[in-house]
């Protein structure tokens, strides 16, 4: 009985890892599409988003099945409930990466070169997602903390992007629409960063039983 349960937990872990890897890929491709202005890449992000949504359903079903059939307690319960929360964040990451991809198609091949911070932001967020997925795979609280700390960097970068876009509009009012698109992209990156923090917090919860966010309240 227990060995079957363990097998199911391992499957859950694998599926989550795969879903995380998809999110990493989606955001990496989105940031590559932004920096190269390659509109062909955006299609890939959208199709990945579809796969991620499908994966969320699969994992959700598996989690509910485990909760019903095995009635887990303690660490197992934490793991499964954390998984349920994490897939929501992962799904949001996928969707927002797709949103970024969609906006990139409106940029007419421009790459946001006027505002280099947005590229730093893309890199930082990409790394945050990788770190939080890594933290999940290795069940490593230190890595999770690193991902959580990086969010401050992303928030700072967002403010810098904002101020440099204000300058851009002031200099070239005709580029107003373009600047707003870039701001939206930056905002989506910032949101993805927040979701990565959530994932990292749930990883810490499933390992230690304490939720990081609770301390700050």
């Amino acid at each position: 009985m227990r060995s079957r349960f363990d097998e199911q937990l391992a499957t859950l872990n694998n599926e989550l890892t795969q879903m995380g890897a998809m999110c990493e890929e989606a955001i990496a491709i989105a940031s590559r599409a932004l920096s190269t202005g390659d509109v062909k890449l955006t299609g890939k992000v959208v199709s990945l988003d579809g796969e991620i949504n499908h994966m969320e359903r699969t994992i959700e079903t598996l989690c509910l099945k485990l909760l019903l059939q095995q009635q887990p307690v303690a660490r197992d319960l934490r793991q499964i409930s954390a998984a349920l929360k994490m897939i929501t964040d992962m799904e949001r990451i996928g969707t927002q990466a797709a949103d970024i991809a969609e906006i990139i198609t409106f940029l007419d091949g421009r790459t946001g070169g006027e505002c280099e911070h947005i590229r730093f932001m893309a890199d930082a967020v990409s790394q945050m997602v990788t770190e939080s997925i890594d933290a999940f795979v290795k069940q490593d609280v230190v890595l999770a903390d690193a991902a959580i700390d990086r969010d401050d960097v992303v928030d700072d970068l967002f403010l810098q992007v904002k101020s440099s876009l204000i300058e851009l509009i002031a200099e070239k009012p005709t580029d107003g629409g373009y600047a707003l698109d870039l701001l939206m992209i930056a905002k989506y990156f910032e949101r993805i960063g927040d979701h990565a923090v959530n994932i990292a917090e749930w990883v810490a919860f499933s390992v230690t039983g304490k939720h990081k966010g609770a301390e700050k309240l």
Binding site: Q18, A21, E24
Partner: protein, 559 residues
Amino acid sequence: MTKKIFNSIMVVAAAVLIASLVIIMGCLYRYFSNVQGKQLEDELSLAAAAVEKNGQEYLEELQSNQYRLTWVAGNGDVIYDTQSDEESMENHADREEIRQALQSREGKSLRYSTTLLEKTLYSARRLNDGSVLRISVSSATVWMLVLGMIQPILIVIVVALVLSGVLASRISKHIMEPLNSLDLEKPLENDTYEELAPLLNRINKQHRQIDVQLSELQRKNDEFTQITQGMTEGLVLLNEKNVILNINPAALKLFHTKKSCIGKDFLTVERNHDVSHAIQDAFSSGHSEIRIEREGKEYQIHVNRIESNGTVIGAVVLAFDITEAAFAERNRREFTANVSHELKTPLQSIMGSAELMENGLVKSEDMTRFVGHIRTEAGRLVTLIDDIIRLSQLDEGCDMPFENVDLYEVATDVAAGLADIAAIKDIEIAVTGETVRIKSVRRLLTEIIFNLCDNAVKYNKDGGMVEVSVSREENQAVISVKDSGIGIPAEHQARIFERFYRVDKSRSKESGGTGLGLSIVKHAVQYLNGQIDLQSSPGEGTIIQIFLQEDKNDVMQIS
């Protein structure tokens, strides 16, 4: 063991106790019942005689607690009873003993109380006058006796429990001691129950089998580890559930993981979508391969399914570092492109001049200049082709004779040969140092020193100087070429030994180089198993040092 012995002792004790109880009680009870019956008969005879004689008076006088006498008339009415009031007693005609007595003079019966704890024995006799005298005595039944004996029985049982417990533990300890002290590592050296001998023999045999198999397994495992440890290719063995069974150091490095990943899913080590896909492909189709990039290096990953008797038991992941191969491939492509370009430039120039001459556009007094031009360009082509041939010879690694060479002599020869060109730019070539004799290839050494000095002169300032020194350090010969030239910027230093690489692309024509000189030096030094050291700062000059192993050359000479 103790429990089993305890149980058997208890069962035996209980059985003996119950059996003896039943037998003794049975015998004694029957005996006493008989005695009582006889006594009752006797008493009845006496009482009957007395009643015949004295009538009711006797009965009234009789003082007995043990017996109860009842005198019943022939119709069953009670005439007198020693213990109760005869008026209140009912008709006794239907009592069994009375009925018997009325019929056949004597009657007997036995009746139990409702609780079965007491029984009453009746004996009756018909008197001469037709009335019946009955005597009865009450006594305890067997059950009553047993009930009375419960306390001693319980005590006996408790004692038996304690005794059997103590005995059981002692016996089992005694029996088990030789078994517990059995040395199973050396089964045949034990001195114990002979009944155990076959078992010990069997264990001994299996011990030997296990030892043999274990050492065989260990040997195979060692072999496997030795082979995989030394491999530069990353190797990962997976079972059919994608769990890592074995991973070698190269793969640990490639996937940035630790030995502790063994037993975990491969996904935890590498979750790249393409890689997981490739592994799934391999599990379904048998083989797959992909290229991935890691930290600037390129890897080719082959995944092969492992099957045994038709069932999939796992997969092998093999990762090759193809960075160098890919780099070499790129280099080859670049070289071809460069060579064709370099060959074409002088030919174009020759073609141009020749066409002008063909069409008679060249005045006769300019003819010499044009022909000279053609000759120079042709000369450049020859030099270039010579360089390429030399390079390809070095690439092929064809055998060249090792002989005793004096480096100082070679250096002075080269310096003398370059003196004319150097003089044009007013550059002095100084050769310093001592005679250093090593076993080497004279042609290659000349090539190395010539190319270094040639560069030193070409990329020098007018009036500069070139210093060639030959010395011996420990067991190495050192050739050092120092110039006061333009130097090489740091970002170019790593690439100047590549074929056709030039720091300043526009100067190629002016300086007349082929772009192959340093490449030839690099290959020649490699052929001689030496090393090159480059120090340069733009504007100040360059020092290139060549270190040649003496011993190595000797060894090569002997072999």
